[in-house]
C-alpha cells in the first residue's frame, strides 16, 4: 500500500538576501534529521529572497506600454501600479493576454502564468519598502544549489545516503479552472514526470493517463500542508522515494510544453 505524507517545517525565520537556505532548513529540522528519499518542497518566495531576486519599485521607470497596460482602460478596479507592470514586462518573453487587470505572460524561463510570477505581496515585513519578488532567475539551478549545499552540510552522500530532492514551487492559475494550484518551477533529485506510455494496467490494457506530472502533484500536496498566513515556506514530503535519485535529473524544465507543441496558438 503506497502512502504519502507532507508536513510543514516550523521555525524557518524570515528569509533575507544572502541567507543560506539549506542551513536555515537544517537548523529547523534539528532533532529530526532528513531521511533518504525525502522531498523538500520550498515556496519560491523564500528562494527568491535568499537570492536577492527582488526589485525596489523606487528604482523602476515605467515605460509608456506599462502605463497603458496599467491604466485598466478606465476600469479603476483593474488599474495597477505602472512600475509593477514594468517589472512584469521585464520578466516576460511574451504577454499572451491582458485582460481585467491580469497579464498572462510567458516568462523568460518559459512558464505561462499571471504577472510573470512577479509577487507584489509578501516581499517585506515593512510595507513601505515597496519591493516586489521575482521568480528565481534559474529555478532548476537554485534547486541544484540548495541540494548540493544540503549534501555538503549533512554529509549524507558521504554516508551513502541520497540527499533529499529539492522542489521549488509557485502558485499558478489554470486556463479553464478557477483558483490556483502550486506547480513545480525548479527541481533537483526527483523525476518531474512518471512515464507510463506504452505500459499496461492490471488488466493488461494500455493506460490512458500515461504521463503523470508527479512533481506538480507533489507541489500541490505540499501547499495543502502549508498554512497560508504563516511563514512555512518549507514542507517535507515522504512517500515519493521511488521517484528520488542521487542524480539531479532533468529538472522542472522538462515540465514545460515547447511552444511548437502549444495547441492553443
Amino acid at each position: 500500500m503506497a502512502s504519502l505524507s507532507a508536513r510543514a517545517l516550523a521555525g524557518i525565520p524570515e528569509v533575507r538576501p544572502g541567507d543560506d537556505l539549506a542551513a536555515l532548513i537544517l537548523d529547523a529540522v534539528d532533532g529530526a534529521p532528513l531521511r533518504d528519499g525525502q522531498v523538500l518542497a520550498i515556496a519560491h518566495t523564500a528562494v527568491s529572497k535568499a537570492e536577492g531576486a527582488l526589485v525596489k519599485l523606487s528604482d523602476v521607470i515605467a515605460s509608456p506600454r506599462a502605463h497603458e497596460l496599467a491604466s485598466g482602460n478606465g476600469d479603476a478596479a483593474a488599474a495597477r501600479d505602472p512600475r509593477v507592470v514594468q517589472v512584469v514586462l521585464d520578466q516576460s518573453a511574451e504577454v499572451l493576454r491582458a485582460s481585467r487587470g491580469v497579464l498572462i505572460c510567458r516568462t523568460h524561463h518559459g512558464f505561462v502564468c499571471a504577472n510573470a510570477g512577479v509577487d507584489a505581496s509578501n516581499a517585506s515585513a515593512d510595507a513601505d519598502a515597496q519591493t516586489v519578488i521575482l521568480l528565481p532567475r534559474d529555478p532548476d539551478g537554485s534547486a541544484r544549489n540548495i541540494r548540493a549545499r544540503l549534501r555538503a552540510l549533512t554529509g549524507m552522500s558521504a554516508r551513502g545516503q541520497t540527499a533529499p530532492a529539492v522542489l521549488i514551487s509557485d502558485s499558478f492559475g489554470r486556463a479553464w479552472r478557477h483558483g490556483q494550484v502550486d506547480v513545480t518551477i525548479g527541481l533537483a533529485g526527483m523525476q518531474p514526470l512518471d512515464d507510463w506510455r506504452g505500459r499496461t494496467d492490471a488488466s493488461g490494457m494500455e493506460l490512458r493517463a500515461t504521463w503523470l506530472a508527479i512533481a506538480d502533484a507533489a507541489a500541490g500536496a505540499a501547499d495543502l500542508a502549508r498554512a497560508k498566513d504563516s511563514r512555512e515556506p518549507v514542507v517535507i514530503i515522504d512517500g515519493l522515494e521511488r521517484f528520488i535519485d542521487e542524480d539531479d535529473g532533468p529538472g522542472a524544465r522538462a515540465l514545460l510544453r515547447p511552444l511548437q507543441e502549444d495547441l492553443f496558438r
Copy 2:
C-alpha cells in the same frame, strides 16, 4: 504545524455496474473505521463503472465527422477508432482543438480535457469486450450519493460525526505544461476553493495567491498515493479537516471557469 497524509485503500475489488461503491469502501476499511473530517478520493473510473457509464463500441455507429477526425489526416500513428471518436463527440459540447490524434473538448459538464474524459483503457478485464468508460453524467451528484450512502451505512451523522467528504477525480492535461495531474470532477462535503482574497499574510501584506483550488491539489496528492498499475481507486486523505463540512457544499462545479471568463477565446 499542518500536515497531510494520503494512503491508498487496499482490497477494493474490480467494480461492476450496479455495485454499491460505499459498501465496497466500508468493507475495505474494515478494522480501521472512517474518522471525522477525512476525504475519500475516488478515481472516476470506479464511479463510472458502478453507475454503468460505459459504452460498448459494437453499439456505436461512427458519423462522417467521426471518421474524418479519426483518420489522422494520413498520419497512421494519429489514426484512431472512429467509434471511440464518435463517443468523444457525443460527450462533448464543443471540440476546441483537434491535433495530432488528440481531441481537446469541452464536455457537457463544462470540463475542458482530452477526449472528453472518455477512457478507452481499463474498461474491462476482458480486452475483447471493447468497452469505453465515460465520465459520470453528474459527478457532483455521484459524490453526494456516495456520501449519503456512507452516512446511512456507518450511522456517522447520527452519532454526531461528520461523514467523510467524497472527491471524484480524473487525470487532465494542462495547456502549457507536459503531463497530466489529477483534478476534482465531483465533490461533496469539502470546500473546492480556499478563498483568501482580501486577506493578508503574516506581515499584513495582501496575499497574491488568494484563491486556492484545494480540491484539485487534494486530487493530485491522492494520485501520488495510488499505484498506477494496480487497482487502488480509493485514497483516504487526512489533514484537510478544516475544509470539511457536514453540508455537501457547492461541489466541483465551482471549479469551472465560466465560458465568458475564458481568457483564451
